[in-house]
């Protein structure tokens, strides 16, 4: 089994929820999940953001679903850090 430890996402979001509310809604997905959000560009109706998520075992499906629920969309996955678990290595 592979665990996702870090994701850097290029996310286009509306002005509401604001950066803090958006990051808090994402951080709420898991205990120990760290969210760092940087607003890269502000448009009339949207904001381009870089969202960095770090955790011990993140669920990408849940993250992308929450981002869509918040009215935003993932433009690209710019950086990832994943780790294979020991059991999987042994089995393989």
């Amino acid at each position: 089994m592979v665990r996702i430890k870090k994701l850097v996402l290029d996310v286009l979001k509306p002005h509401k929820p604001n950066a803090l509310e958006f990051a808090m809604a994402l951080a709420d997905l898991g205990k120990g999940l760290t969210v760092r959000l940087t607003v890269a560009e502000v448009d009339e109706k949207t904001e381009s953001t870089v969202v960095i998520l770090e955790g011990s075992d993140m669920d990408y499906e849940a993250i992308s679903e929450r981002i869509e629920r918040l009215g935003a969309s993932i433009h690209s996955i710019d950086e990832v850090e994943v780790m294979g678990s020991e059991e999987e290595t042994d089995a393989g």
């Binding site: 509306p14 509401k16 509310e21 951080a27 969309s73």
Partner: protein, 192 residues
Amino acid sequence: MRWPALNRLLVHARQANSIARRYFVTNGFDGALTMLGLMVGFQTGGDVPLSVALQACLGAAVALLMSGLSSAYLSESAERKREMHKLEQALLSDLSESDYGRASRLVPLLVALVNGLSPLVISLIIMLPLWLSLWGMELPMSPFLLAMAVALGLIFLLGVLLGRLSRELWLWAGLRALVVGGLTVGIIYSFN
């Protein structure tokens, strides 16, 4: 601190607060002035039976409720759909299942309820002296006059509420609203 679904929805529904407040005063004012006009008409119209007056007032109150509900719902939902469509175009995504989409469906309902219930409740309060008189309670003056006084009192209070929102002197804002009520009474009296 948790960030539950309700919080996420409230982020978008928050602006409904100011819209609903505006509608409450606007349509409440409509309700109060309509009832005031009816009461002045009954008072100057001679011997109008209380039951007939009450029926007329109830009819007007229900019409105001329906008008308030439908007009606010239709205009607010059209406005929300337009806003959502513009945002969807900017984001190039479908927002119907997002918190924004859900709030866009919820806000018109909340605003419509406030807009419809505000004139109904205000009308029912103004009609109270008519009911009390019909139930046999002794009133210090004609039930129509008393209802007019209640209506003017409520109009004053709505003015005070507006004054507090705009951080004006409450007395001045209340008196200004009262002048509108007084003018209404004056114009109707001048017809007779």
